[in-house]
């Protein structure tokens, strides 16, 4: 209850956003907005959850896509198992979703326990290595995962509570709700005392430890939660493509997510989503004119990193903060003189 009161403003915004998203999805008959937005939901959750590590905690993970892929695979494999759907019946989809989130979380506990103790560069390396390891397991364990072909034959989606995920409208609304709920969870996390502890660790982990913060544990909790949310992104993409593919665990997927964060802004909560939208549109527009999309995107990244040196929303935020700080400083001077 208390939570609802404290976050009422954010909750209202989230509700309004959901209404708009649903209206777009149901109001436009053409499939493009639904497809586009569903892809954004998946990529957005990957990027935003990764930004919990990069932007909020200062942990540059280069292997976050592994959890995204794992979520998709757990979800897809469970629903493809006739034993599972047979036993669970109508509860199959929600249970598979929960299993994907919890299962990925457990995997993240193991990986995180090893990784979060290391410094920046080694952390990046090790997360990358574990990601490539998972990738190679997915490719080689053909009997279970279908290898490079991914999960074949579609993912069955038994109806539950009147929701039929085989129907594109139902599926879209379901994904939109999942997306908004996850974003809200991350919002609460980042604005809670825990979220500010993450910022302490990012700014100065040693000092945080001397203030009684259990840095390792906090990092690990953040790692696990963000991995679980990435898993939801994977579930959305698995629903959307009716399959799961090893490329989701490939390092380029992580690289792309990192760029989305950078492009949109890593110090602003919604920055990564803006980055995801911008990158997708950029990609699609460039694709209409040339097959050399990579060179264009590479040049854009160079420009953003070397020219702007920060993301779009970071630019706005820094400008606003500087203005505000200058005003406060001026007030202080006047106050002292007067």
């Amino acid at each position: 209850m208390n939570l609802i009161v404290q976050f009422r403003r954010d909750l209202l915004i989230a509700a309004a956003a959901l209404v708009v998203l649903v209206a777009i999805g149901l109001g436009i008959e053409h499939a493009w907005p639904r497809d586009f937005l569903t892809a954004i939901f998946a990529a957005g959750l990957l990027a935003m959850s990764l930004n919990m590590l990069i932007g909020y905690t200062g942990l540059v993970s280069f292997g976050h896509a592994a959890f995204f892929a794992l979520g998709g695979y757990i979800f897809g494999l469970l629903l493809q198992s006739q034993a599972f759907t047979g036993a669970m019946g109508a509860a199959s989809v929600p249970l598979a979703l929960v299993a994907a989130v919890v299962g990925t979380g457990l995997y993240a506990v193991v990986i995180g326990a090893i990784c979060v103790r290391l410094t920046e560069i080694y952390f990046a390396f090790l997360t990358l290595a574990f990601q490539m390891f998972l990738y190679s397991v997915i490719l080689s364990w053909v009997d279970l995962t279908g290898g490079d072909q991914g999960l074949m034959g579609g993912i069955p989606r038994p109806e539950f509570l009147g929701i039929d995920l085989g129907d594109q409208y139902h599926r879209y609304v379901f994904c939109a709700v999942l997306f908004v709920v996850c974003v809200m969870i991350m919002r609460i996390m980042t604005e809670s005392p825990f979220g500010y502890t993450l910022r302490m660790i990012r700014d100065n982990a040693t000092r945080a430890a001397f203030l009684g913060v259990n840095v390792t544990r906090v990092k690990l909790i953040c790692f696990v939660v963000s991995s679980s949310i990435a898993a939801v992104g994977g579930v959305i993409l698995a629903l959307f493509t009716s399959g799961a593919y090893p490329e989701w665990a490939f390092w380029a997927q992580s690289g792309e997510a990192i760029f989305m964060i950078m492009l949109g802004g890593l110090n602003v909560f919604l920055g990564p989503i803006l980055g995801a939208v911008a990158l997708r549109i950029l990609n699609d527009v460039v694709q209409m004119y040339t097959s050399h999309t990579e060179i264009v995107i590479g040049l854009v990244i160079m420009f953003v990193v070397l020219g702007l040196r920060r993301g779009i929303l970071d630019f706005v935020k820094d400008w606003w903060v500087e203005k505000q700080q200058a005003r406060l400083a001026a007030e202080n001077r006047n106050g002292r003189e007067g």
Binding site: G27, W32, T241, G243, Y245, F250, I281, Q287
Partner: protein, 427 residues
């Protein structure tokens, strides 16, 4: 977009339209100039082709593009179909399944493509298969040889077809030829080197299964599985040397096969064993391998002399005149796909509606230079291509690179395919 979604919807009501939001979205998309569906409707029938145009496989994708464009050019120059011309839109998926899925959706949603030719390798084909199933979009798979794509009822979709060779057909053919060769030479000990992914494993397993069936004394003494696109095969080559087999099978392909041959020849591997390489027969592979060995058995891919007919010769000339890459296995399969589409469109009167096209394509037989008797058929029961050239040749160092084509009779293939389907619970 003429096509509308016919799937029944329950629960959520479409009439809960919030026009404001819709308008806002429309304005938003208008500003970005995107998506293209807002542009004026196109008169040509657009064919969307997700394929691979970068990486080690790019040559296959590029030859597919050349072949498709060349066939479309011929059709359009002859006046199109029912007054409508054809136009192909290509997208580079880089061979990634999720990219291929996304691009297929984009091709339909944004580019207004009414027909999809899925020119992806196996991995991505399964992804595209699910997309077109979901979108109820007419589609022909043109490159995936993985048998289960059309053989497994789980993967079958009423409006999806395949216009390319299939692993099981090649395996029967390969098994027959290989059995004959090893029996003649008295060879028993086999080794395999194939890429470690679904295609490589399934293909190798099927091939060896038929070799064993036709030559029961066969024994596989070692298997080595390099990763797909692995740069270095030295470890695998030496593993083969150590095992000292008498015969070698490989379904490596493209650049991987080239690298393997160059590295293996350093060790003189092909002087020591008899070798079968199903994917060696493609022109770009044969020409790229600098240390081209003689006497390796190669599966039929595309060759201007197989079948040795004037039609095939003419197709080769026409292709070469309009392409800057050599023809491949993928090239003829995509050309065949365009021919099938054109033929089906003639039957529907130029209507690209999914269900009408599906009905027209099932069981369709066309005249084609790639068929055994000048025709190719898409079988009605499982929507897959039959009656194309199956068999093995032997390589020689210089042009025409392969000689002595040993053709497998389709009656033989049908018989074993039916057994195989039963064994796998597909039929």
């Amino acid at each position: 977009m003429k096509k509308s979604y016919s799937s029944p919807r329950r629960g959520l009501d479409r009439r809960t339209v919030l026009k404001g939001a819709a308008a806002a979205a429309a304005v938003g998309t208008g500003i970005t100039g995107f998506p293209a569906y807002l542009k004026a409707a196109n008169t040509p029938i657009k064919i969307g082709v997700p394929t691979i145009l970068s990486g080690r496989v790019a040559i296959l994708g590029e030859s597919s593009v050349s072949a498709i464009n060349n066939e479309i050019r011929k059709i359009n120059e002859a006046g199109g179909i029912e007054g409508r011309t054809l136009e192909a839109v290509f997208r580079d998926s880089r061979g990634k399944p999720d990219e291929a899925a996304r691009m297929t959706r984009d091709l339909v949603n944004n580019e207004g493509c009414e027909i999809i030719l899925d020119a992806e390798a196996s991995g991505a084909s399964f992804a595209v298969n699910e997309v077109v199933r979901d979108m109820q979009q007419f589609c022909i798979h043109t490159n995936s040889e993985t048998s289960s794509l059309t053989a497994d009822p789980k993967n079958q979709v009423d409006w999806v077809f395949r216009s390319c060779r299939q692993g099981i057909h090649d395996a029967v053919g390969g098994g027959l030829v290989a059995a004959k060769v090893v029996k003649e030479k008295g060879l028993k000990k086999w080794a395999t080197i194939s890429p470690d992914y679904a295609y490589g494993r399934a293909n190798t397993e099927e091939f060896m299964e038929y070799v064993k069936l036709f030559a029961p004394e066969t024994e596989v003494i070692t298997e080595t599985w390099p990763k797909l696109f692995q740069p270095d095969y030295t470890e695998n080559v030496t593993a083969l040397l150590n095992a000292q087999p008498e015969v070698l099978y490989s379904c490596l392909w493209g650049g991987d096969l080239v690298a393997f041959f160059d590295q293996a020849s350093l060790y003189g591997l092909f002087d020591q064993f008899t070798a079968f390489a199903v994917n060696l027969g493609d022109y770009p592979v044969l020409t790229a391998i600098k240390s081209r060995p003689a006497g390796v058995y190669s599966g039929s891919r595309y060759h201007k002399d197989i079948p040795d007919t004037p039609e095939n010769e003419a197709w080769y000339e026409s292709y070469m005149a309009n392409s800057d890459v050599l023809p491949t296995n993928w090239a003829w399969q995509n050309a065949a796909a365009v021919n099938f589409v054109a033929e089906a469109l003639k039957k529907t009167g130029g209507d690209a509606d999914t269900m009408k096209m599906a009905e027209a394509t099932a069981g369709l037989t066309i005249d084609s230079p790639f068929g055994v008797d000048g025709t190719l058929t898409i079988r009605e029961e499982d929507h897959t291509l039959v009656n194309y050239m199956v068999g093995y040749s032997k390589t020689i160092v210089d042009e025409p690179y392969v000689v002595g084509f040993d053709q497998t009779a389709w009656s033989e293939i049908y018989k074993h395919e039916a057994d195989w389907k039963k064994r796998n619970g597909y039929a």
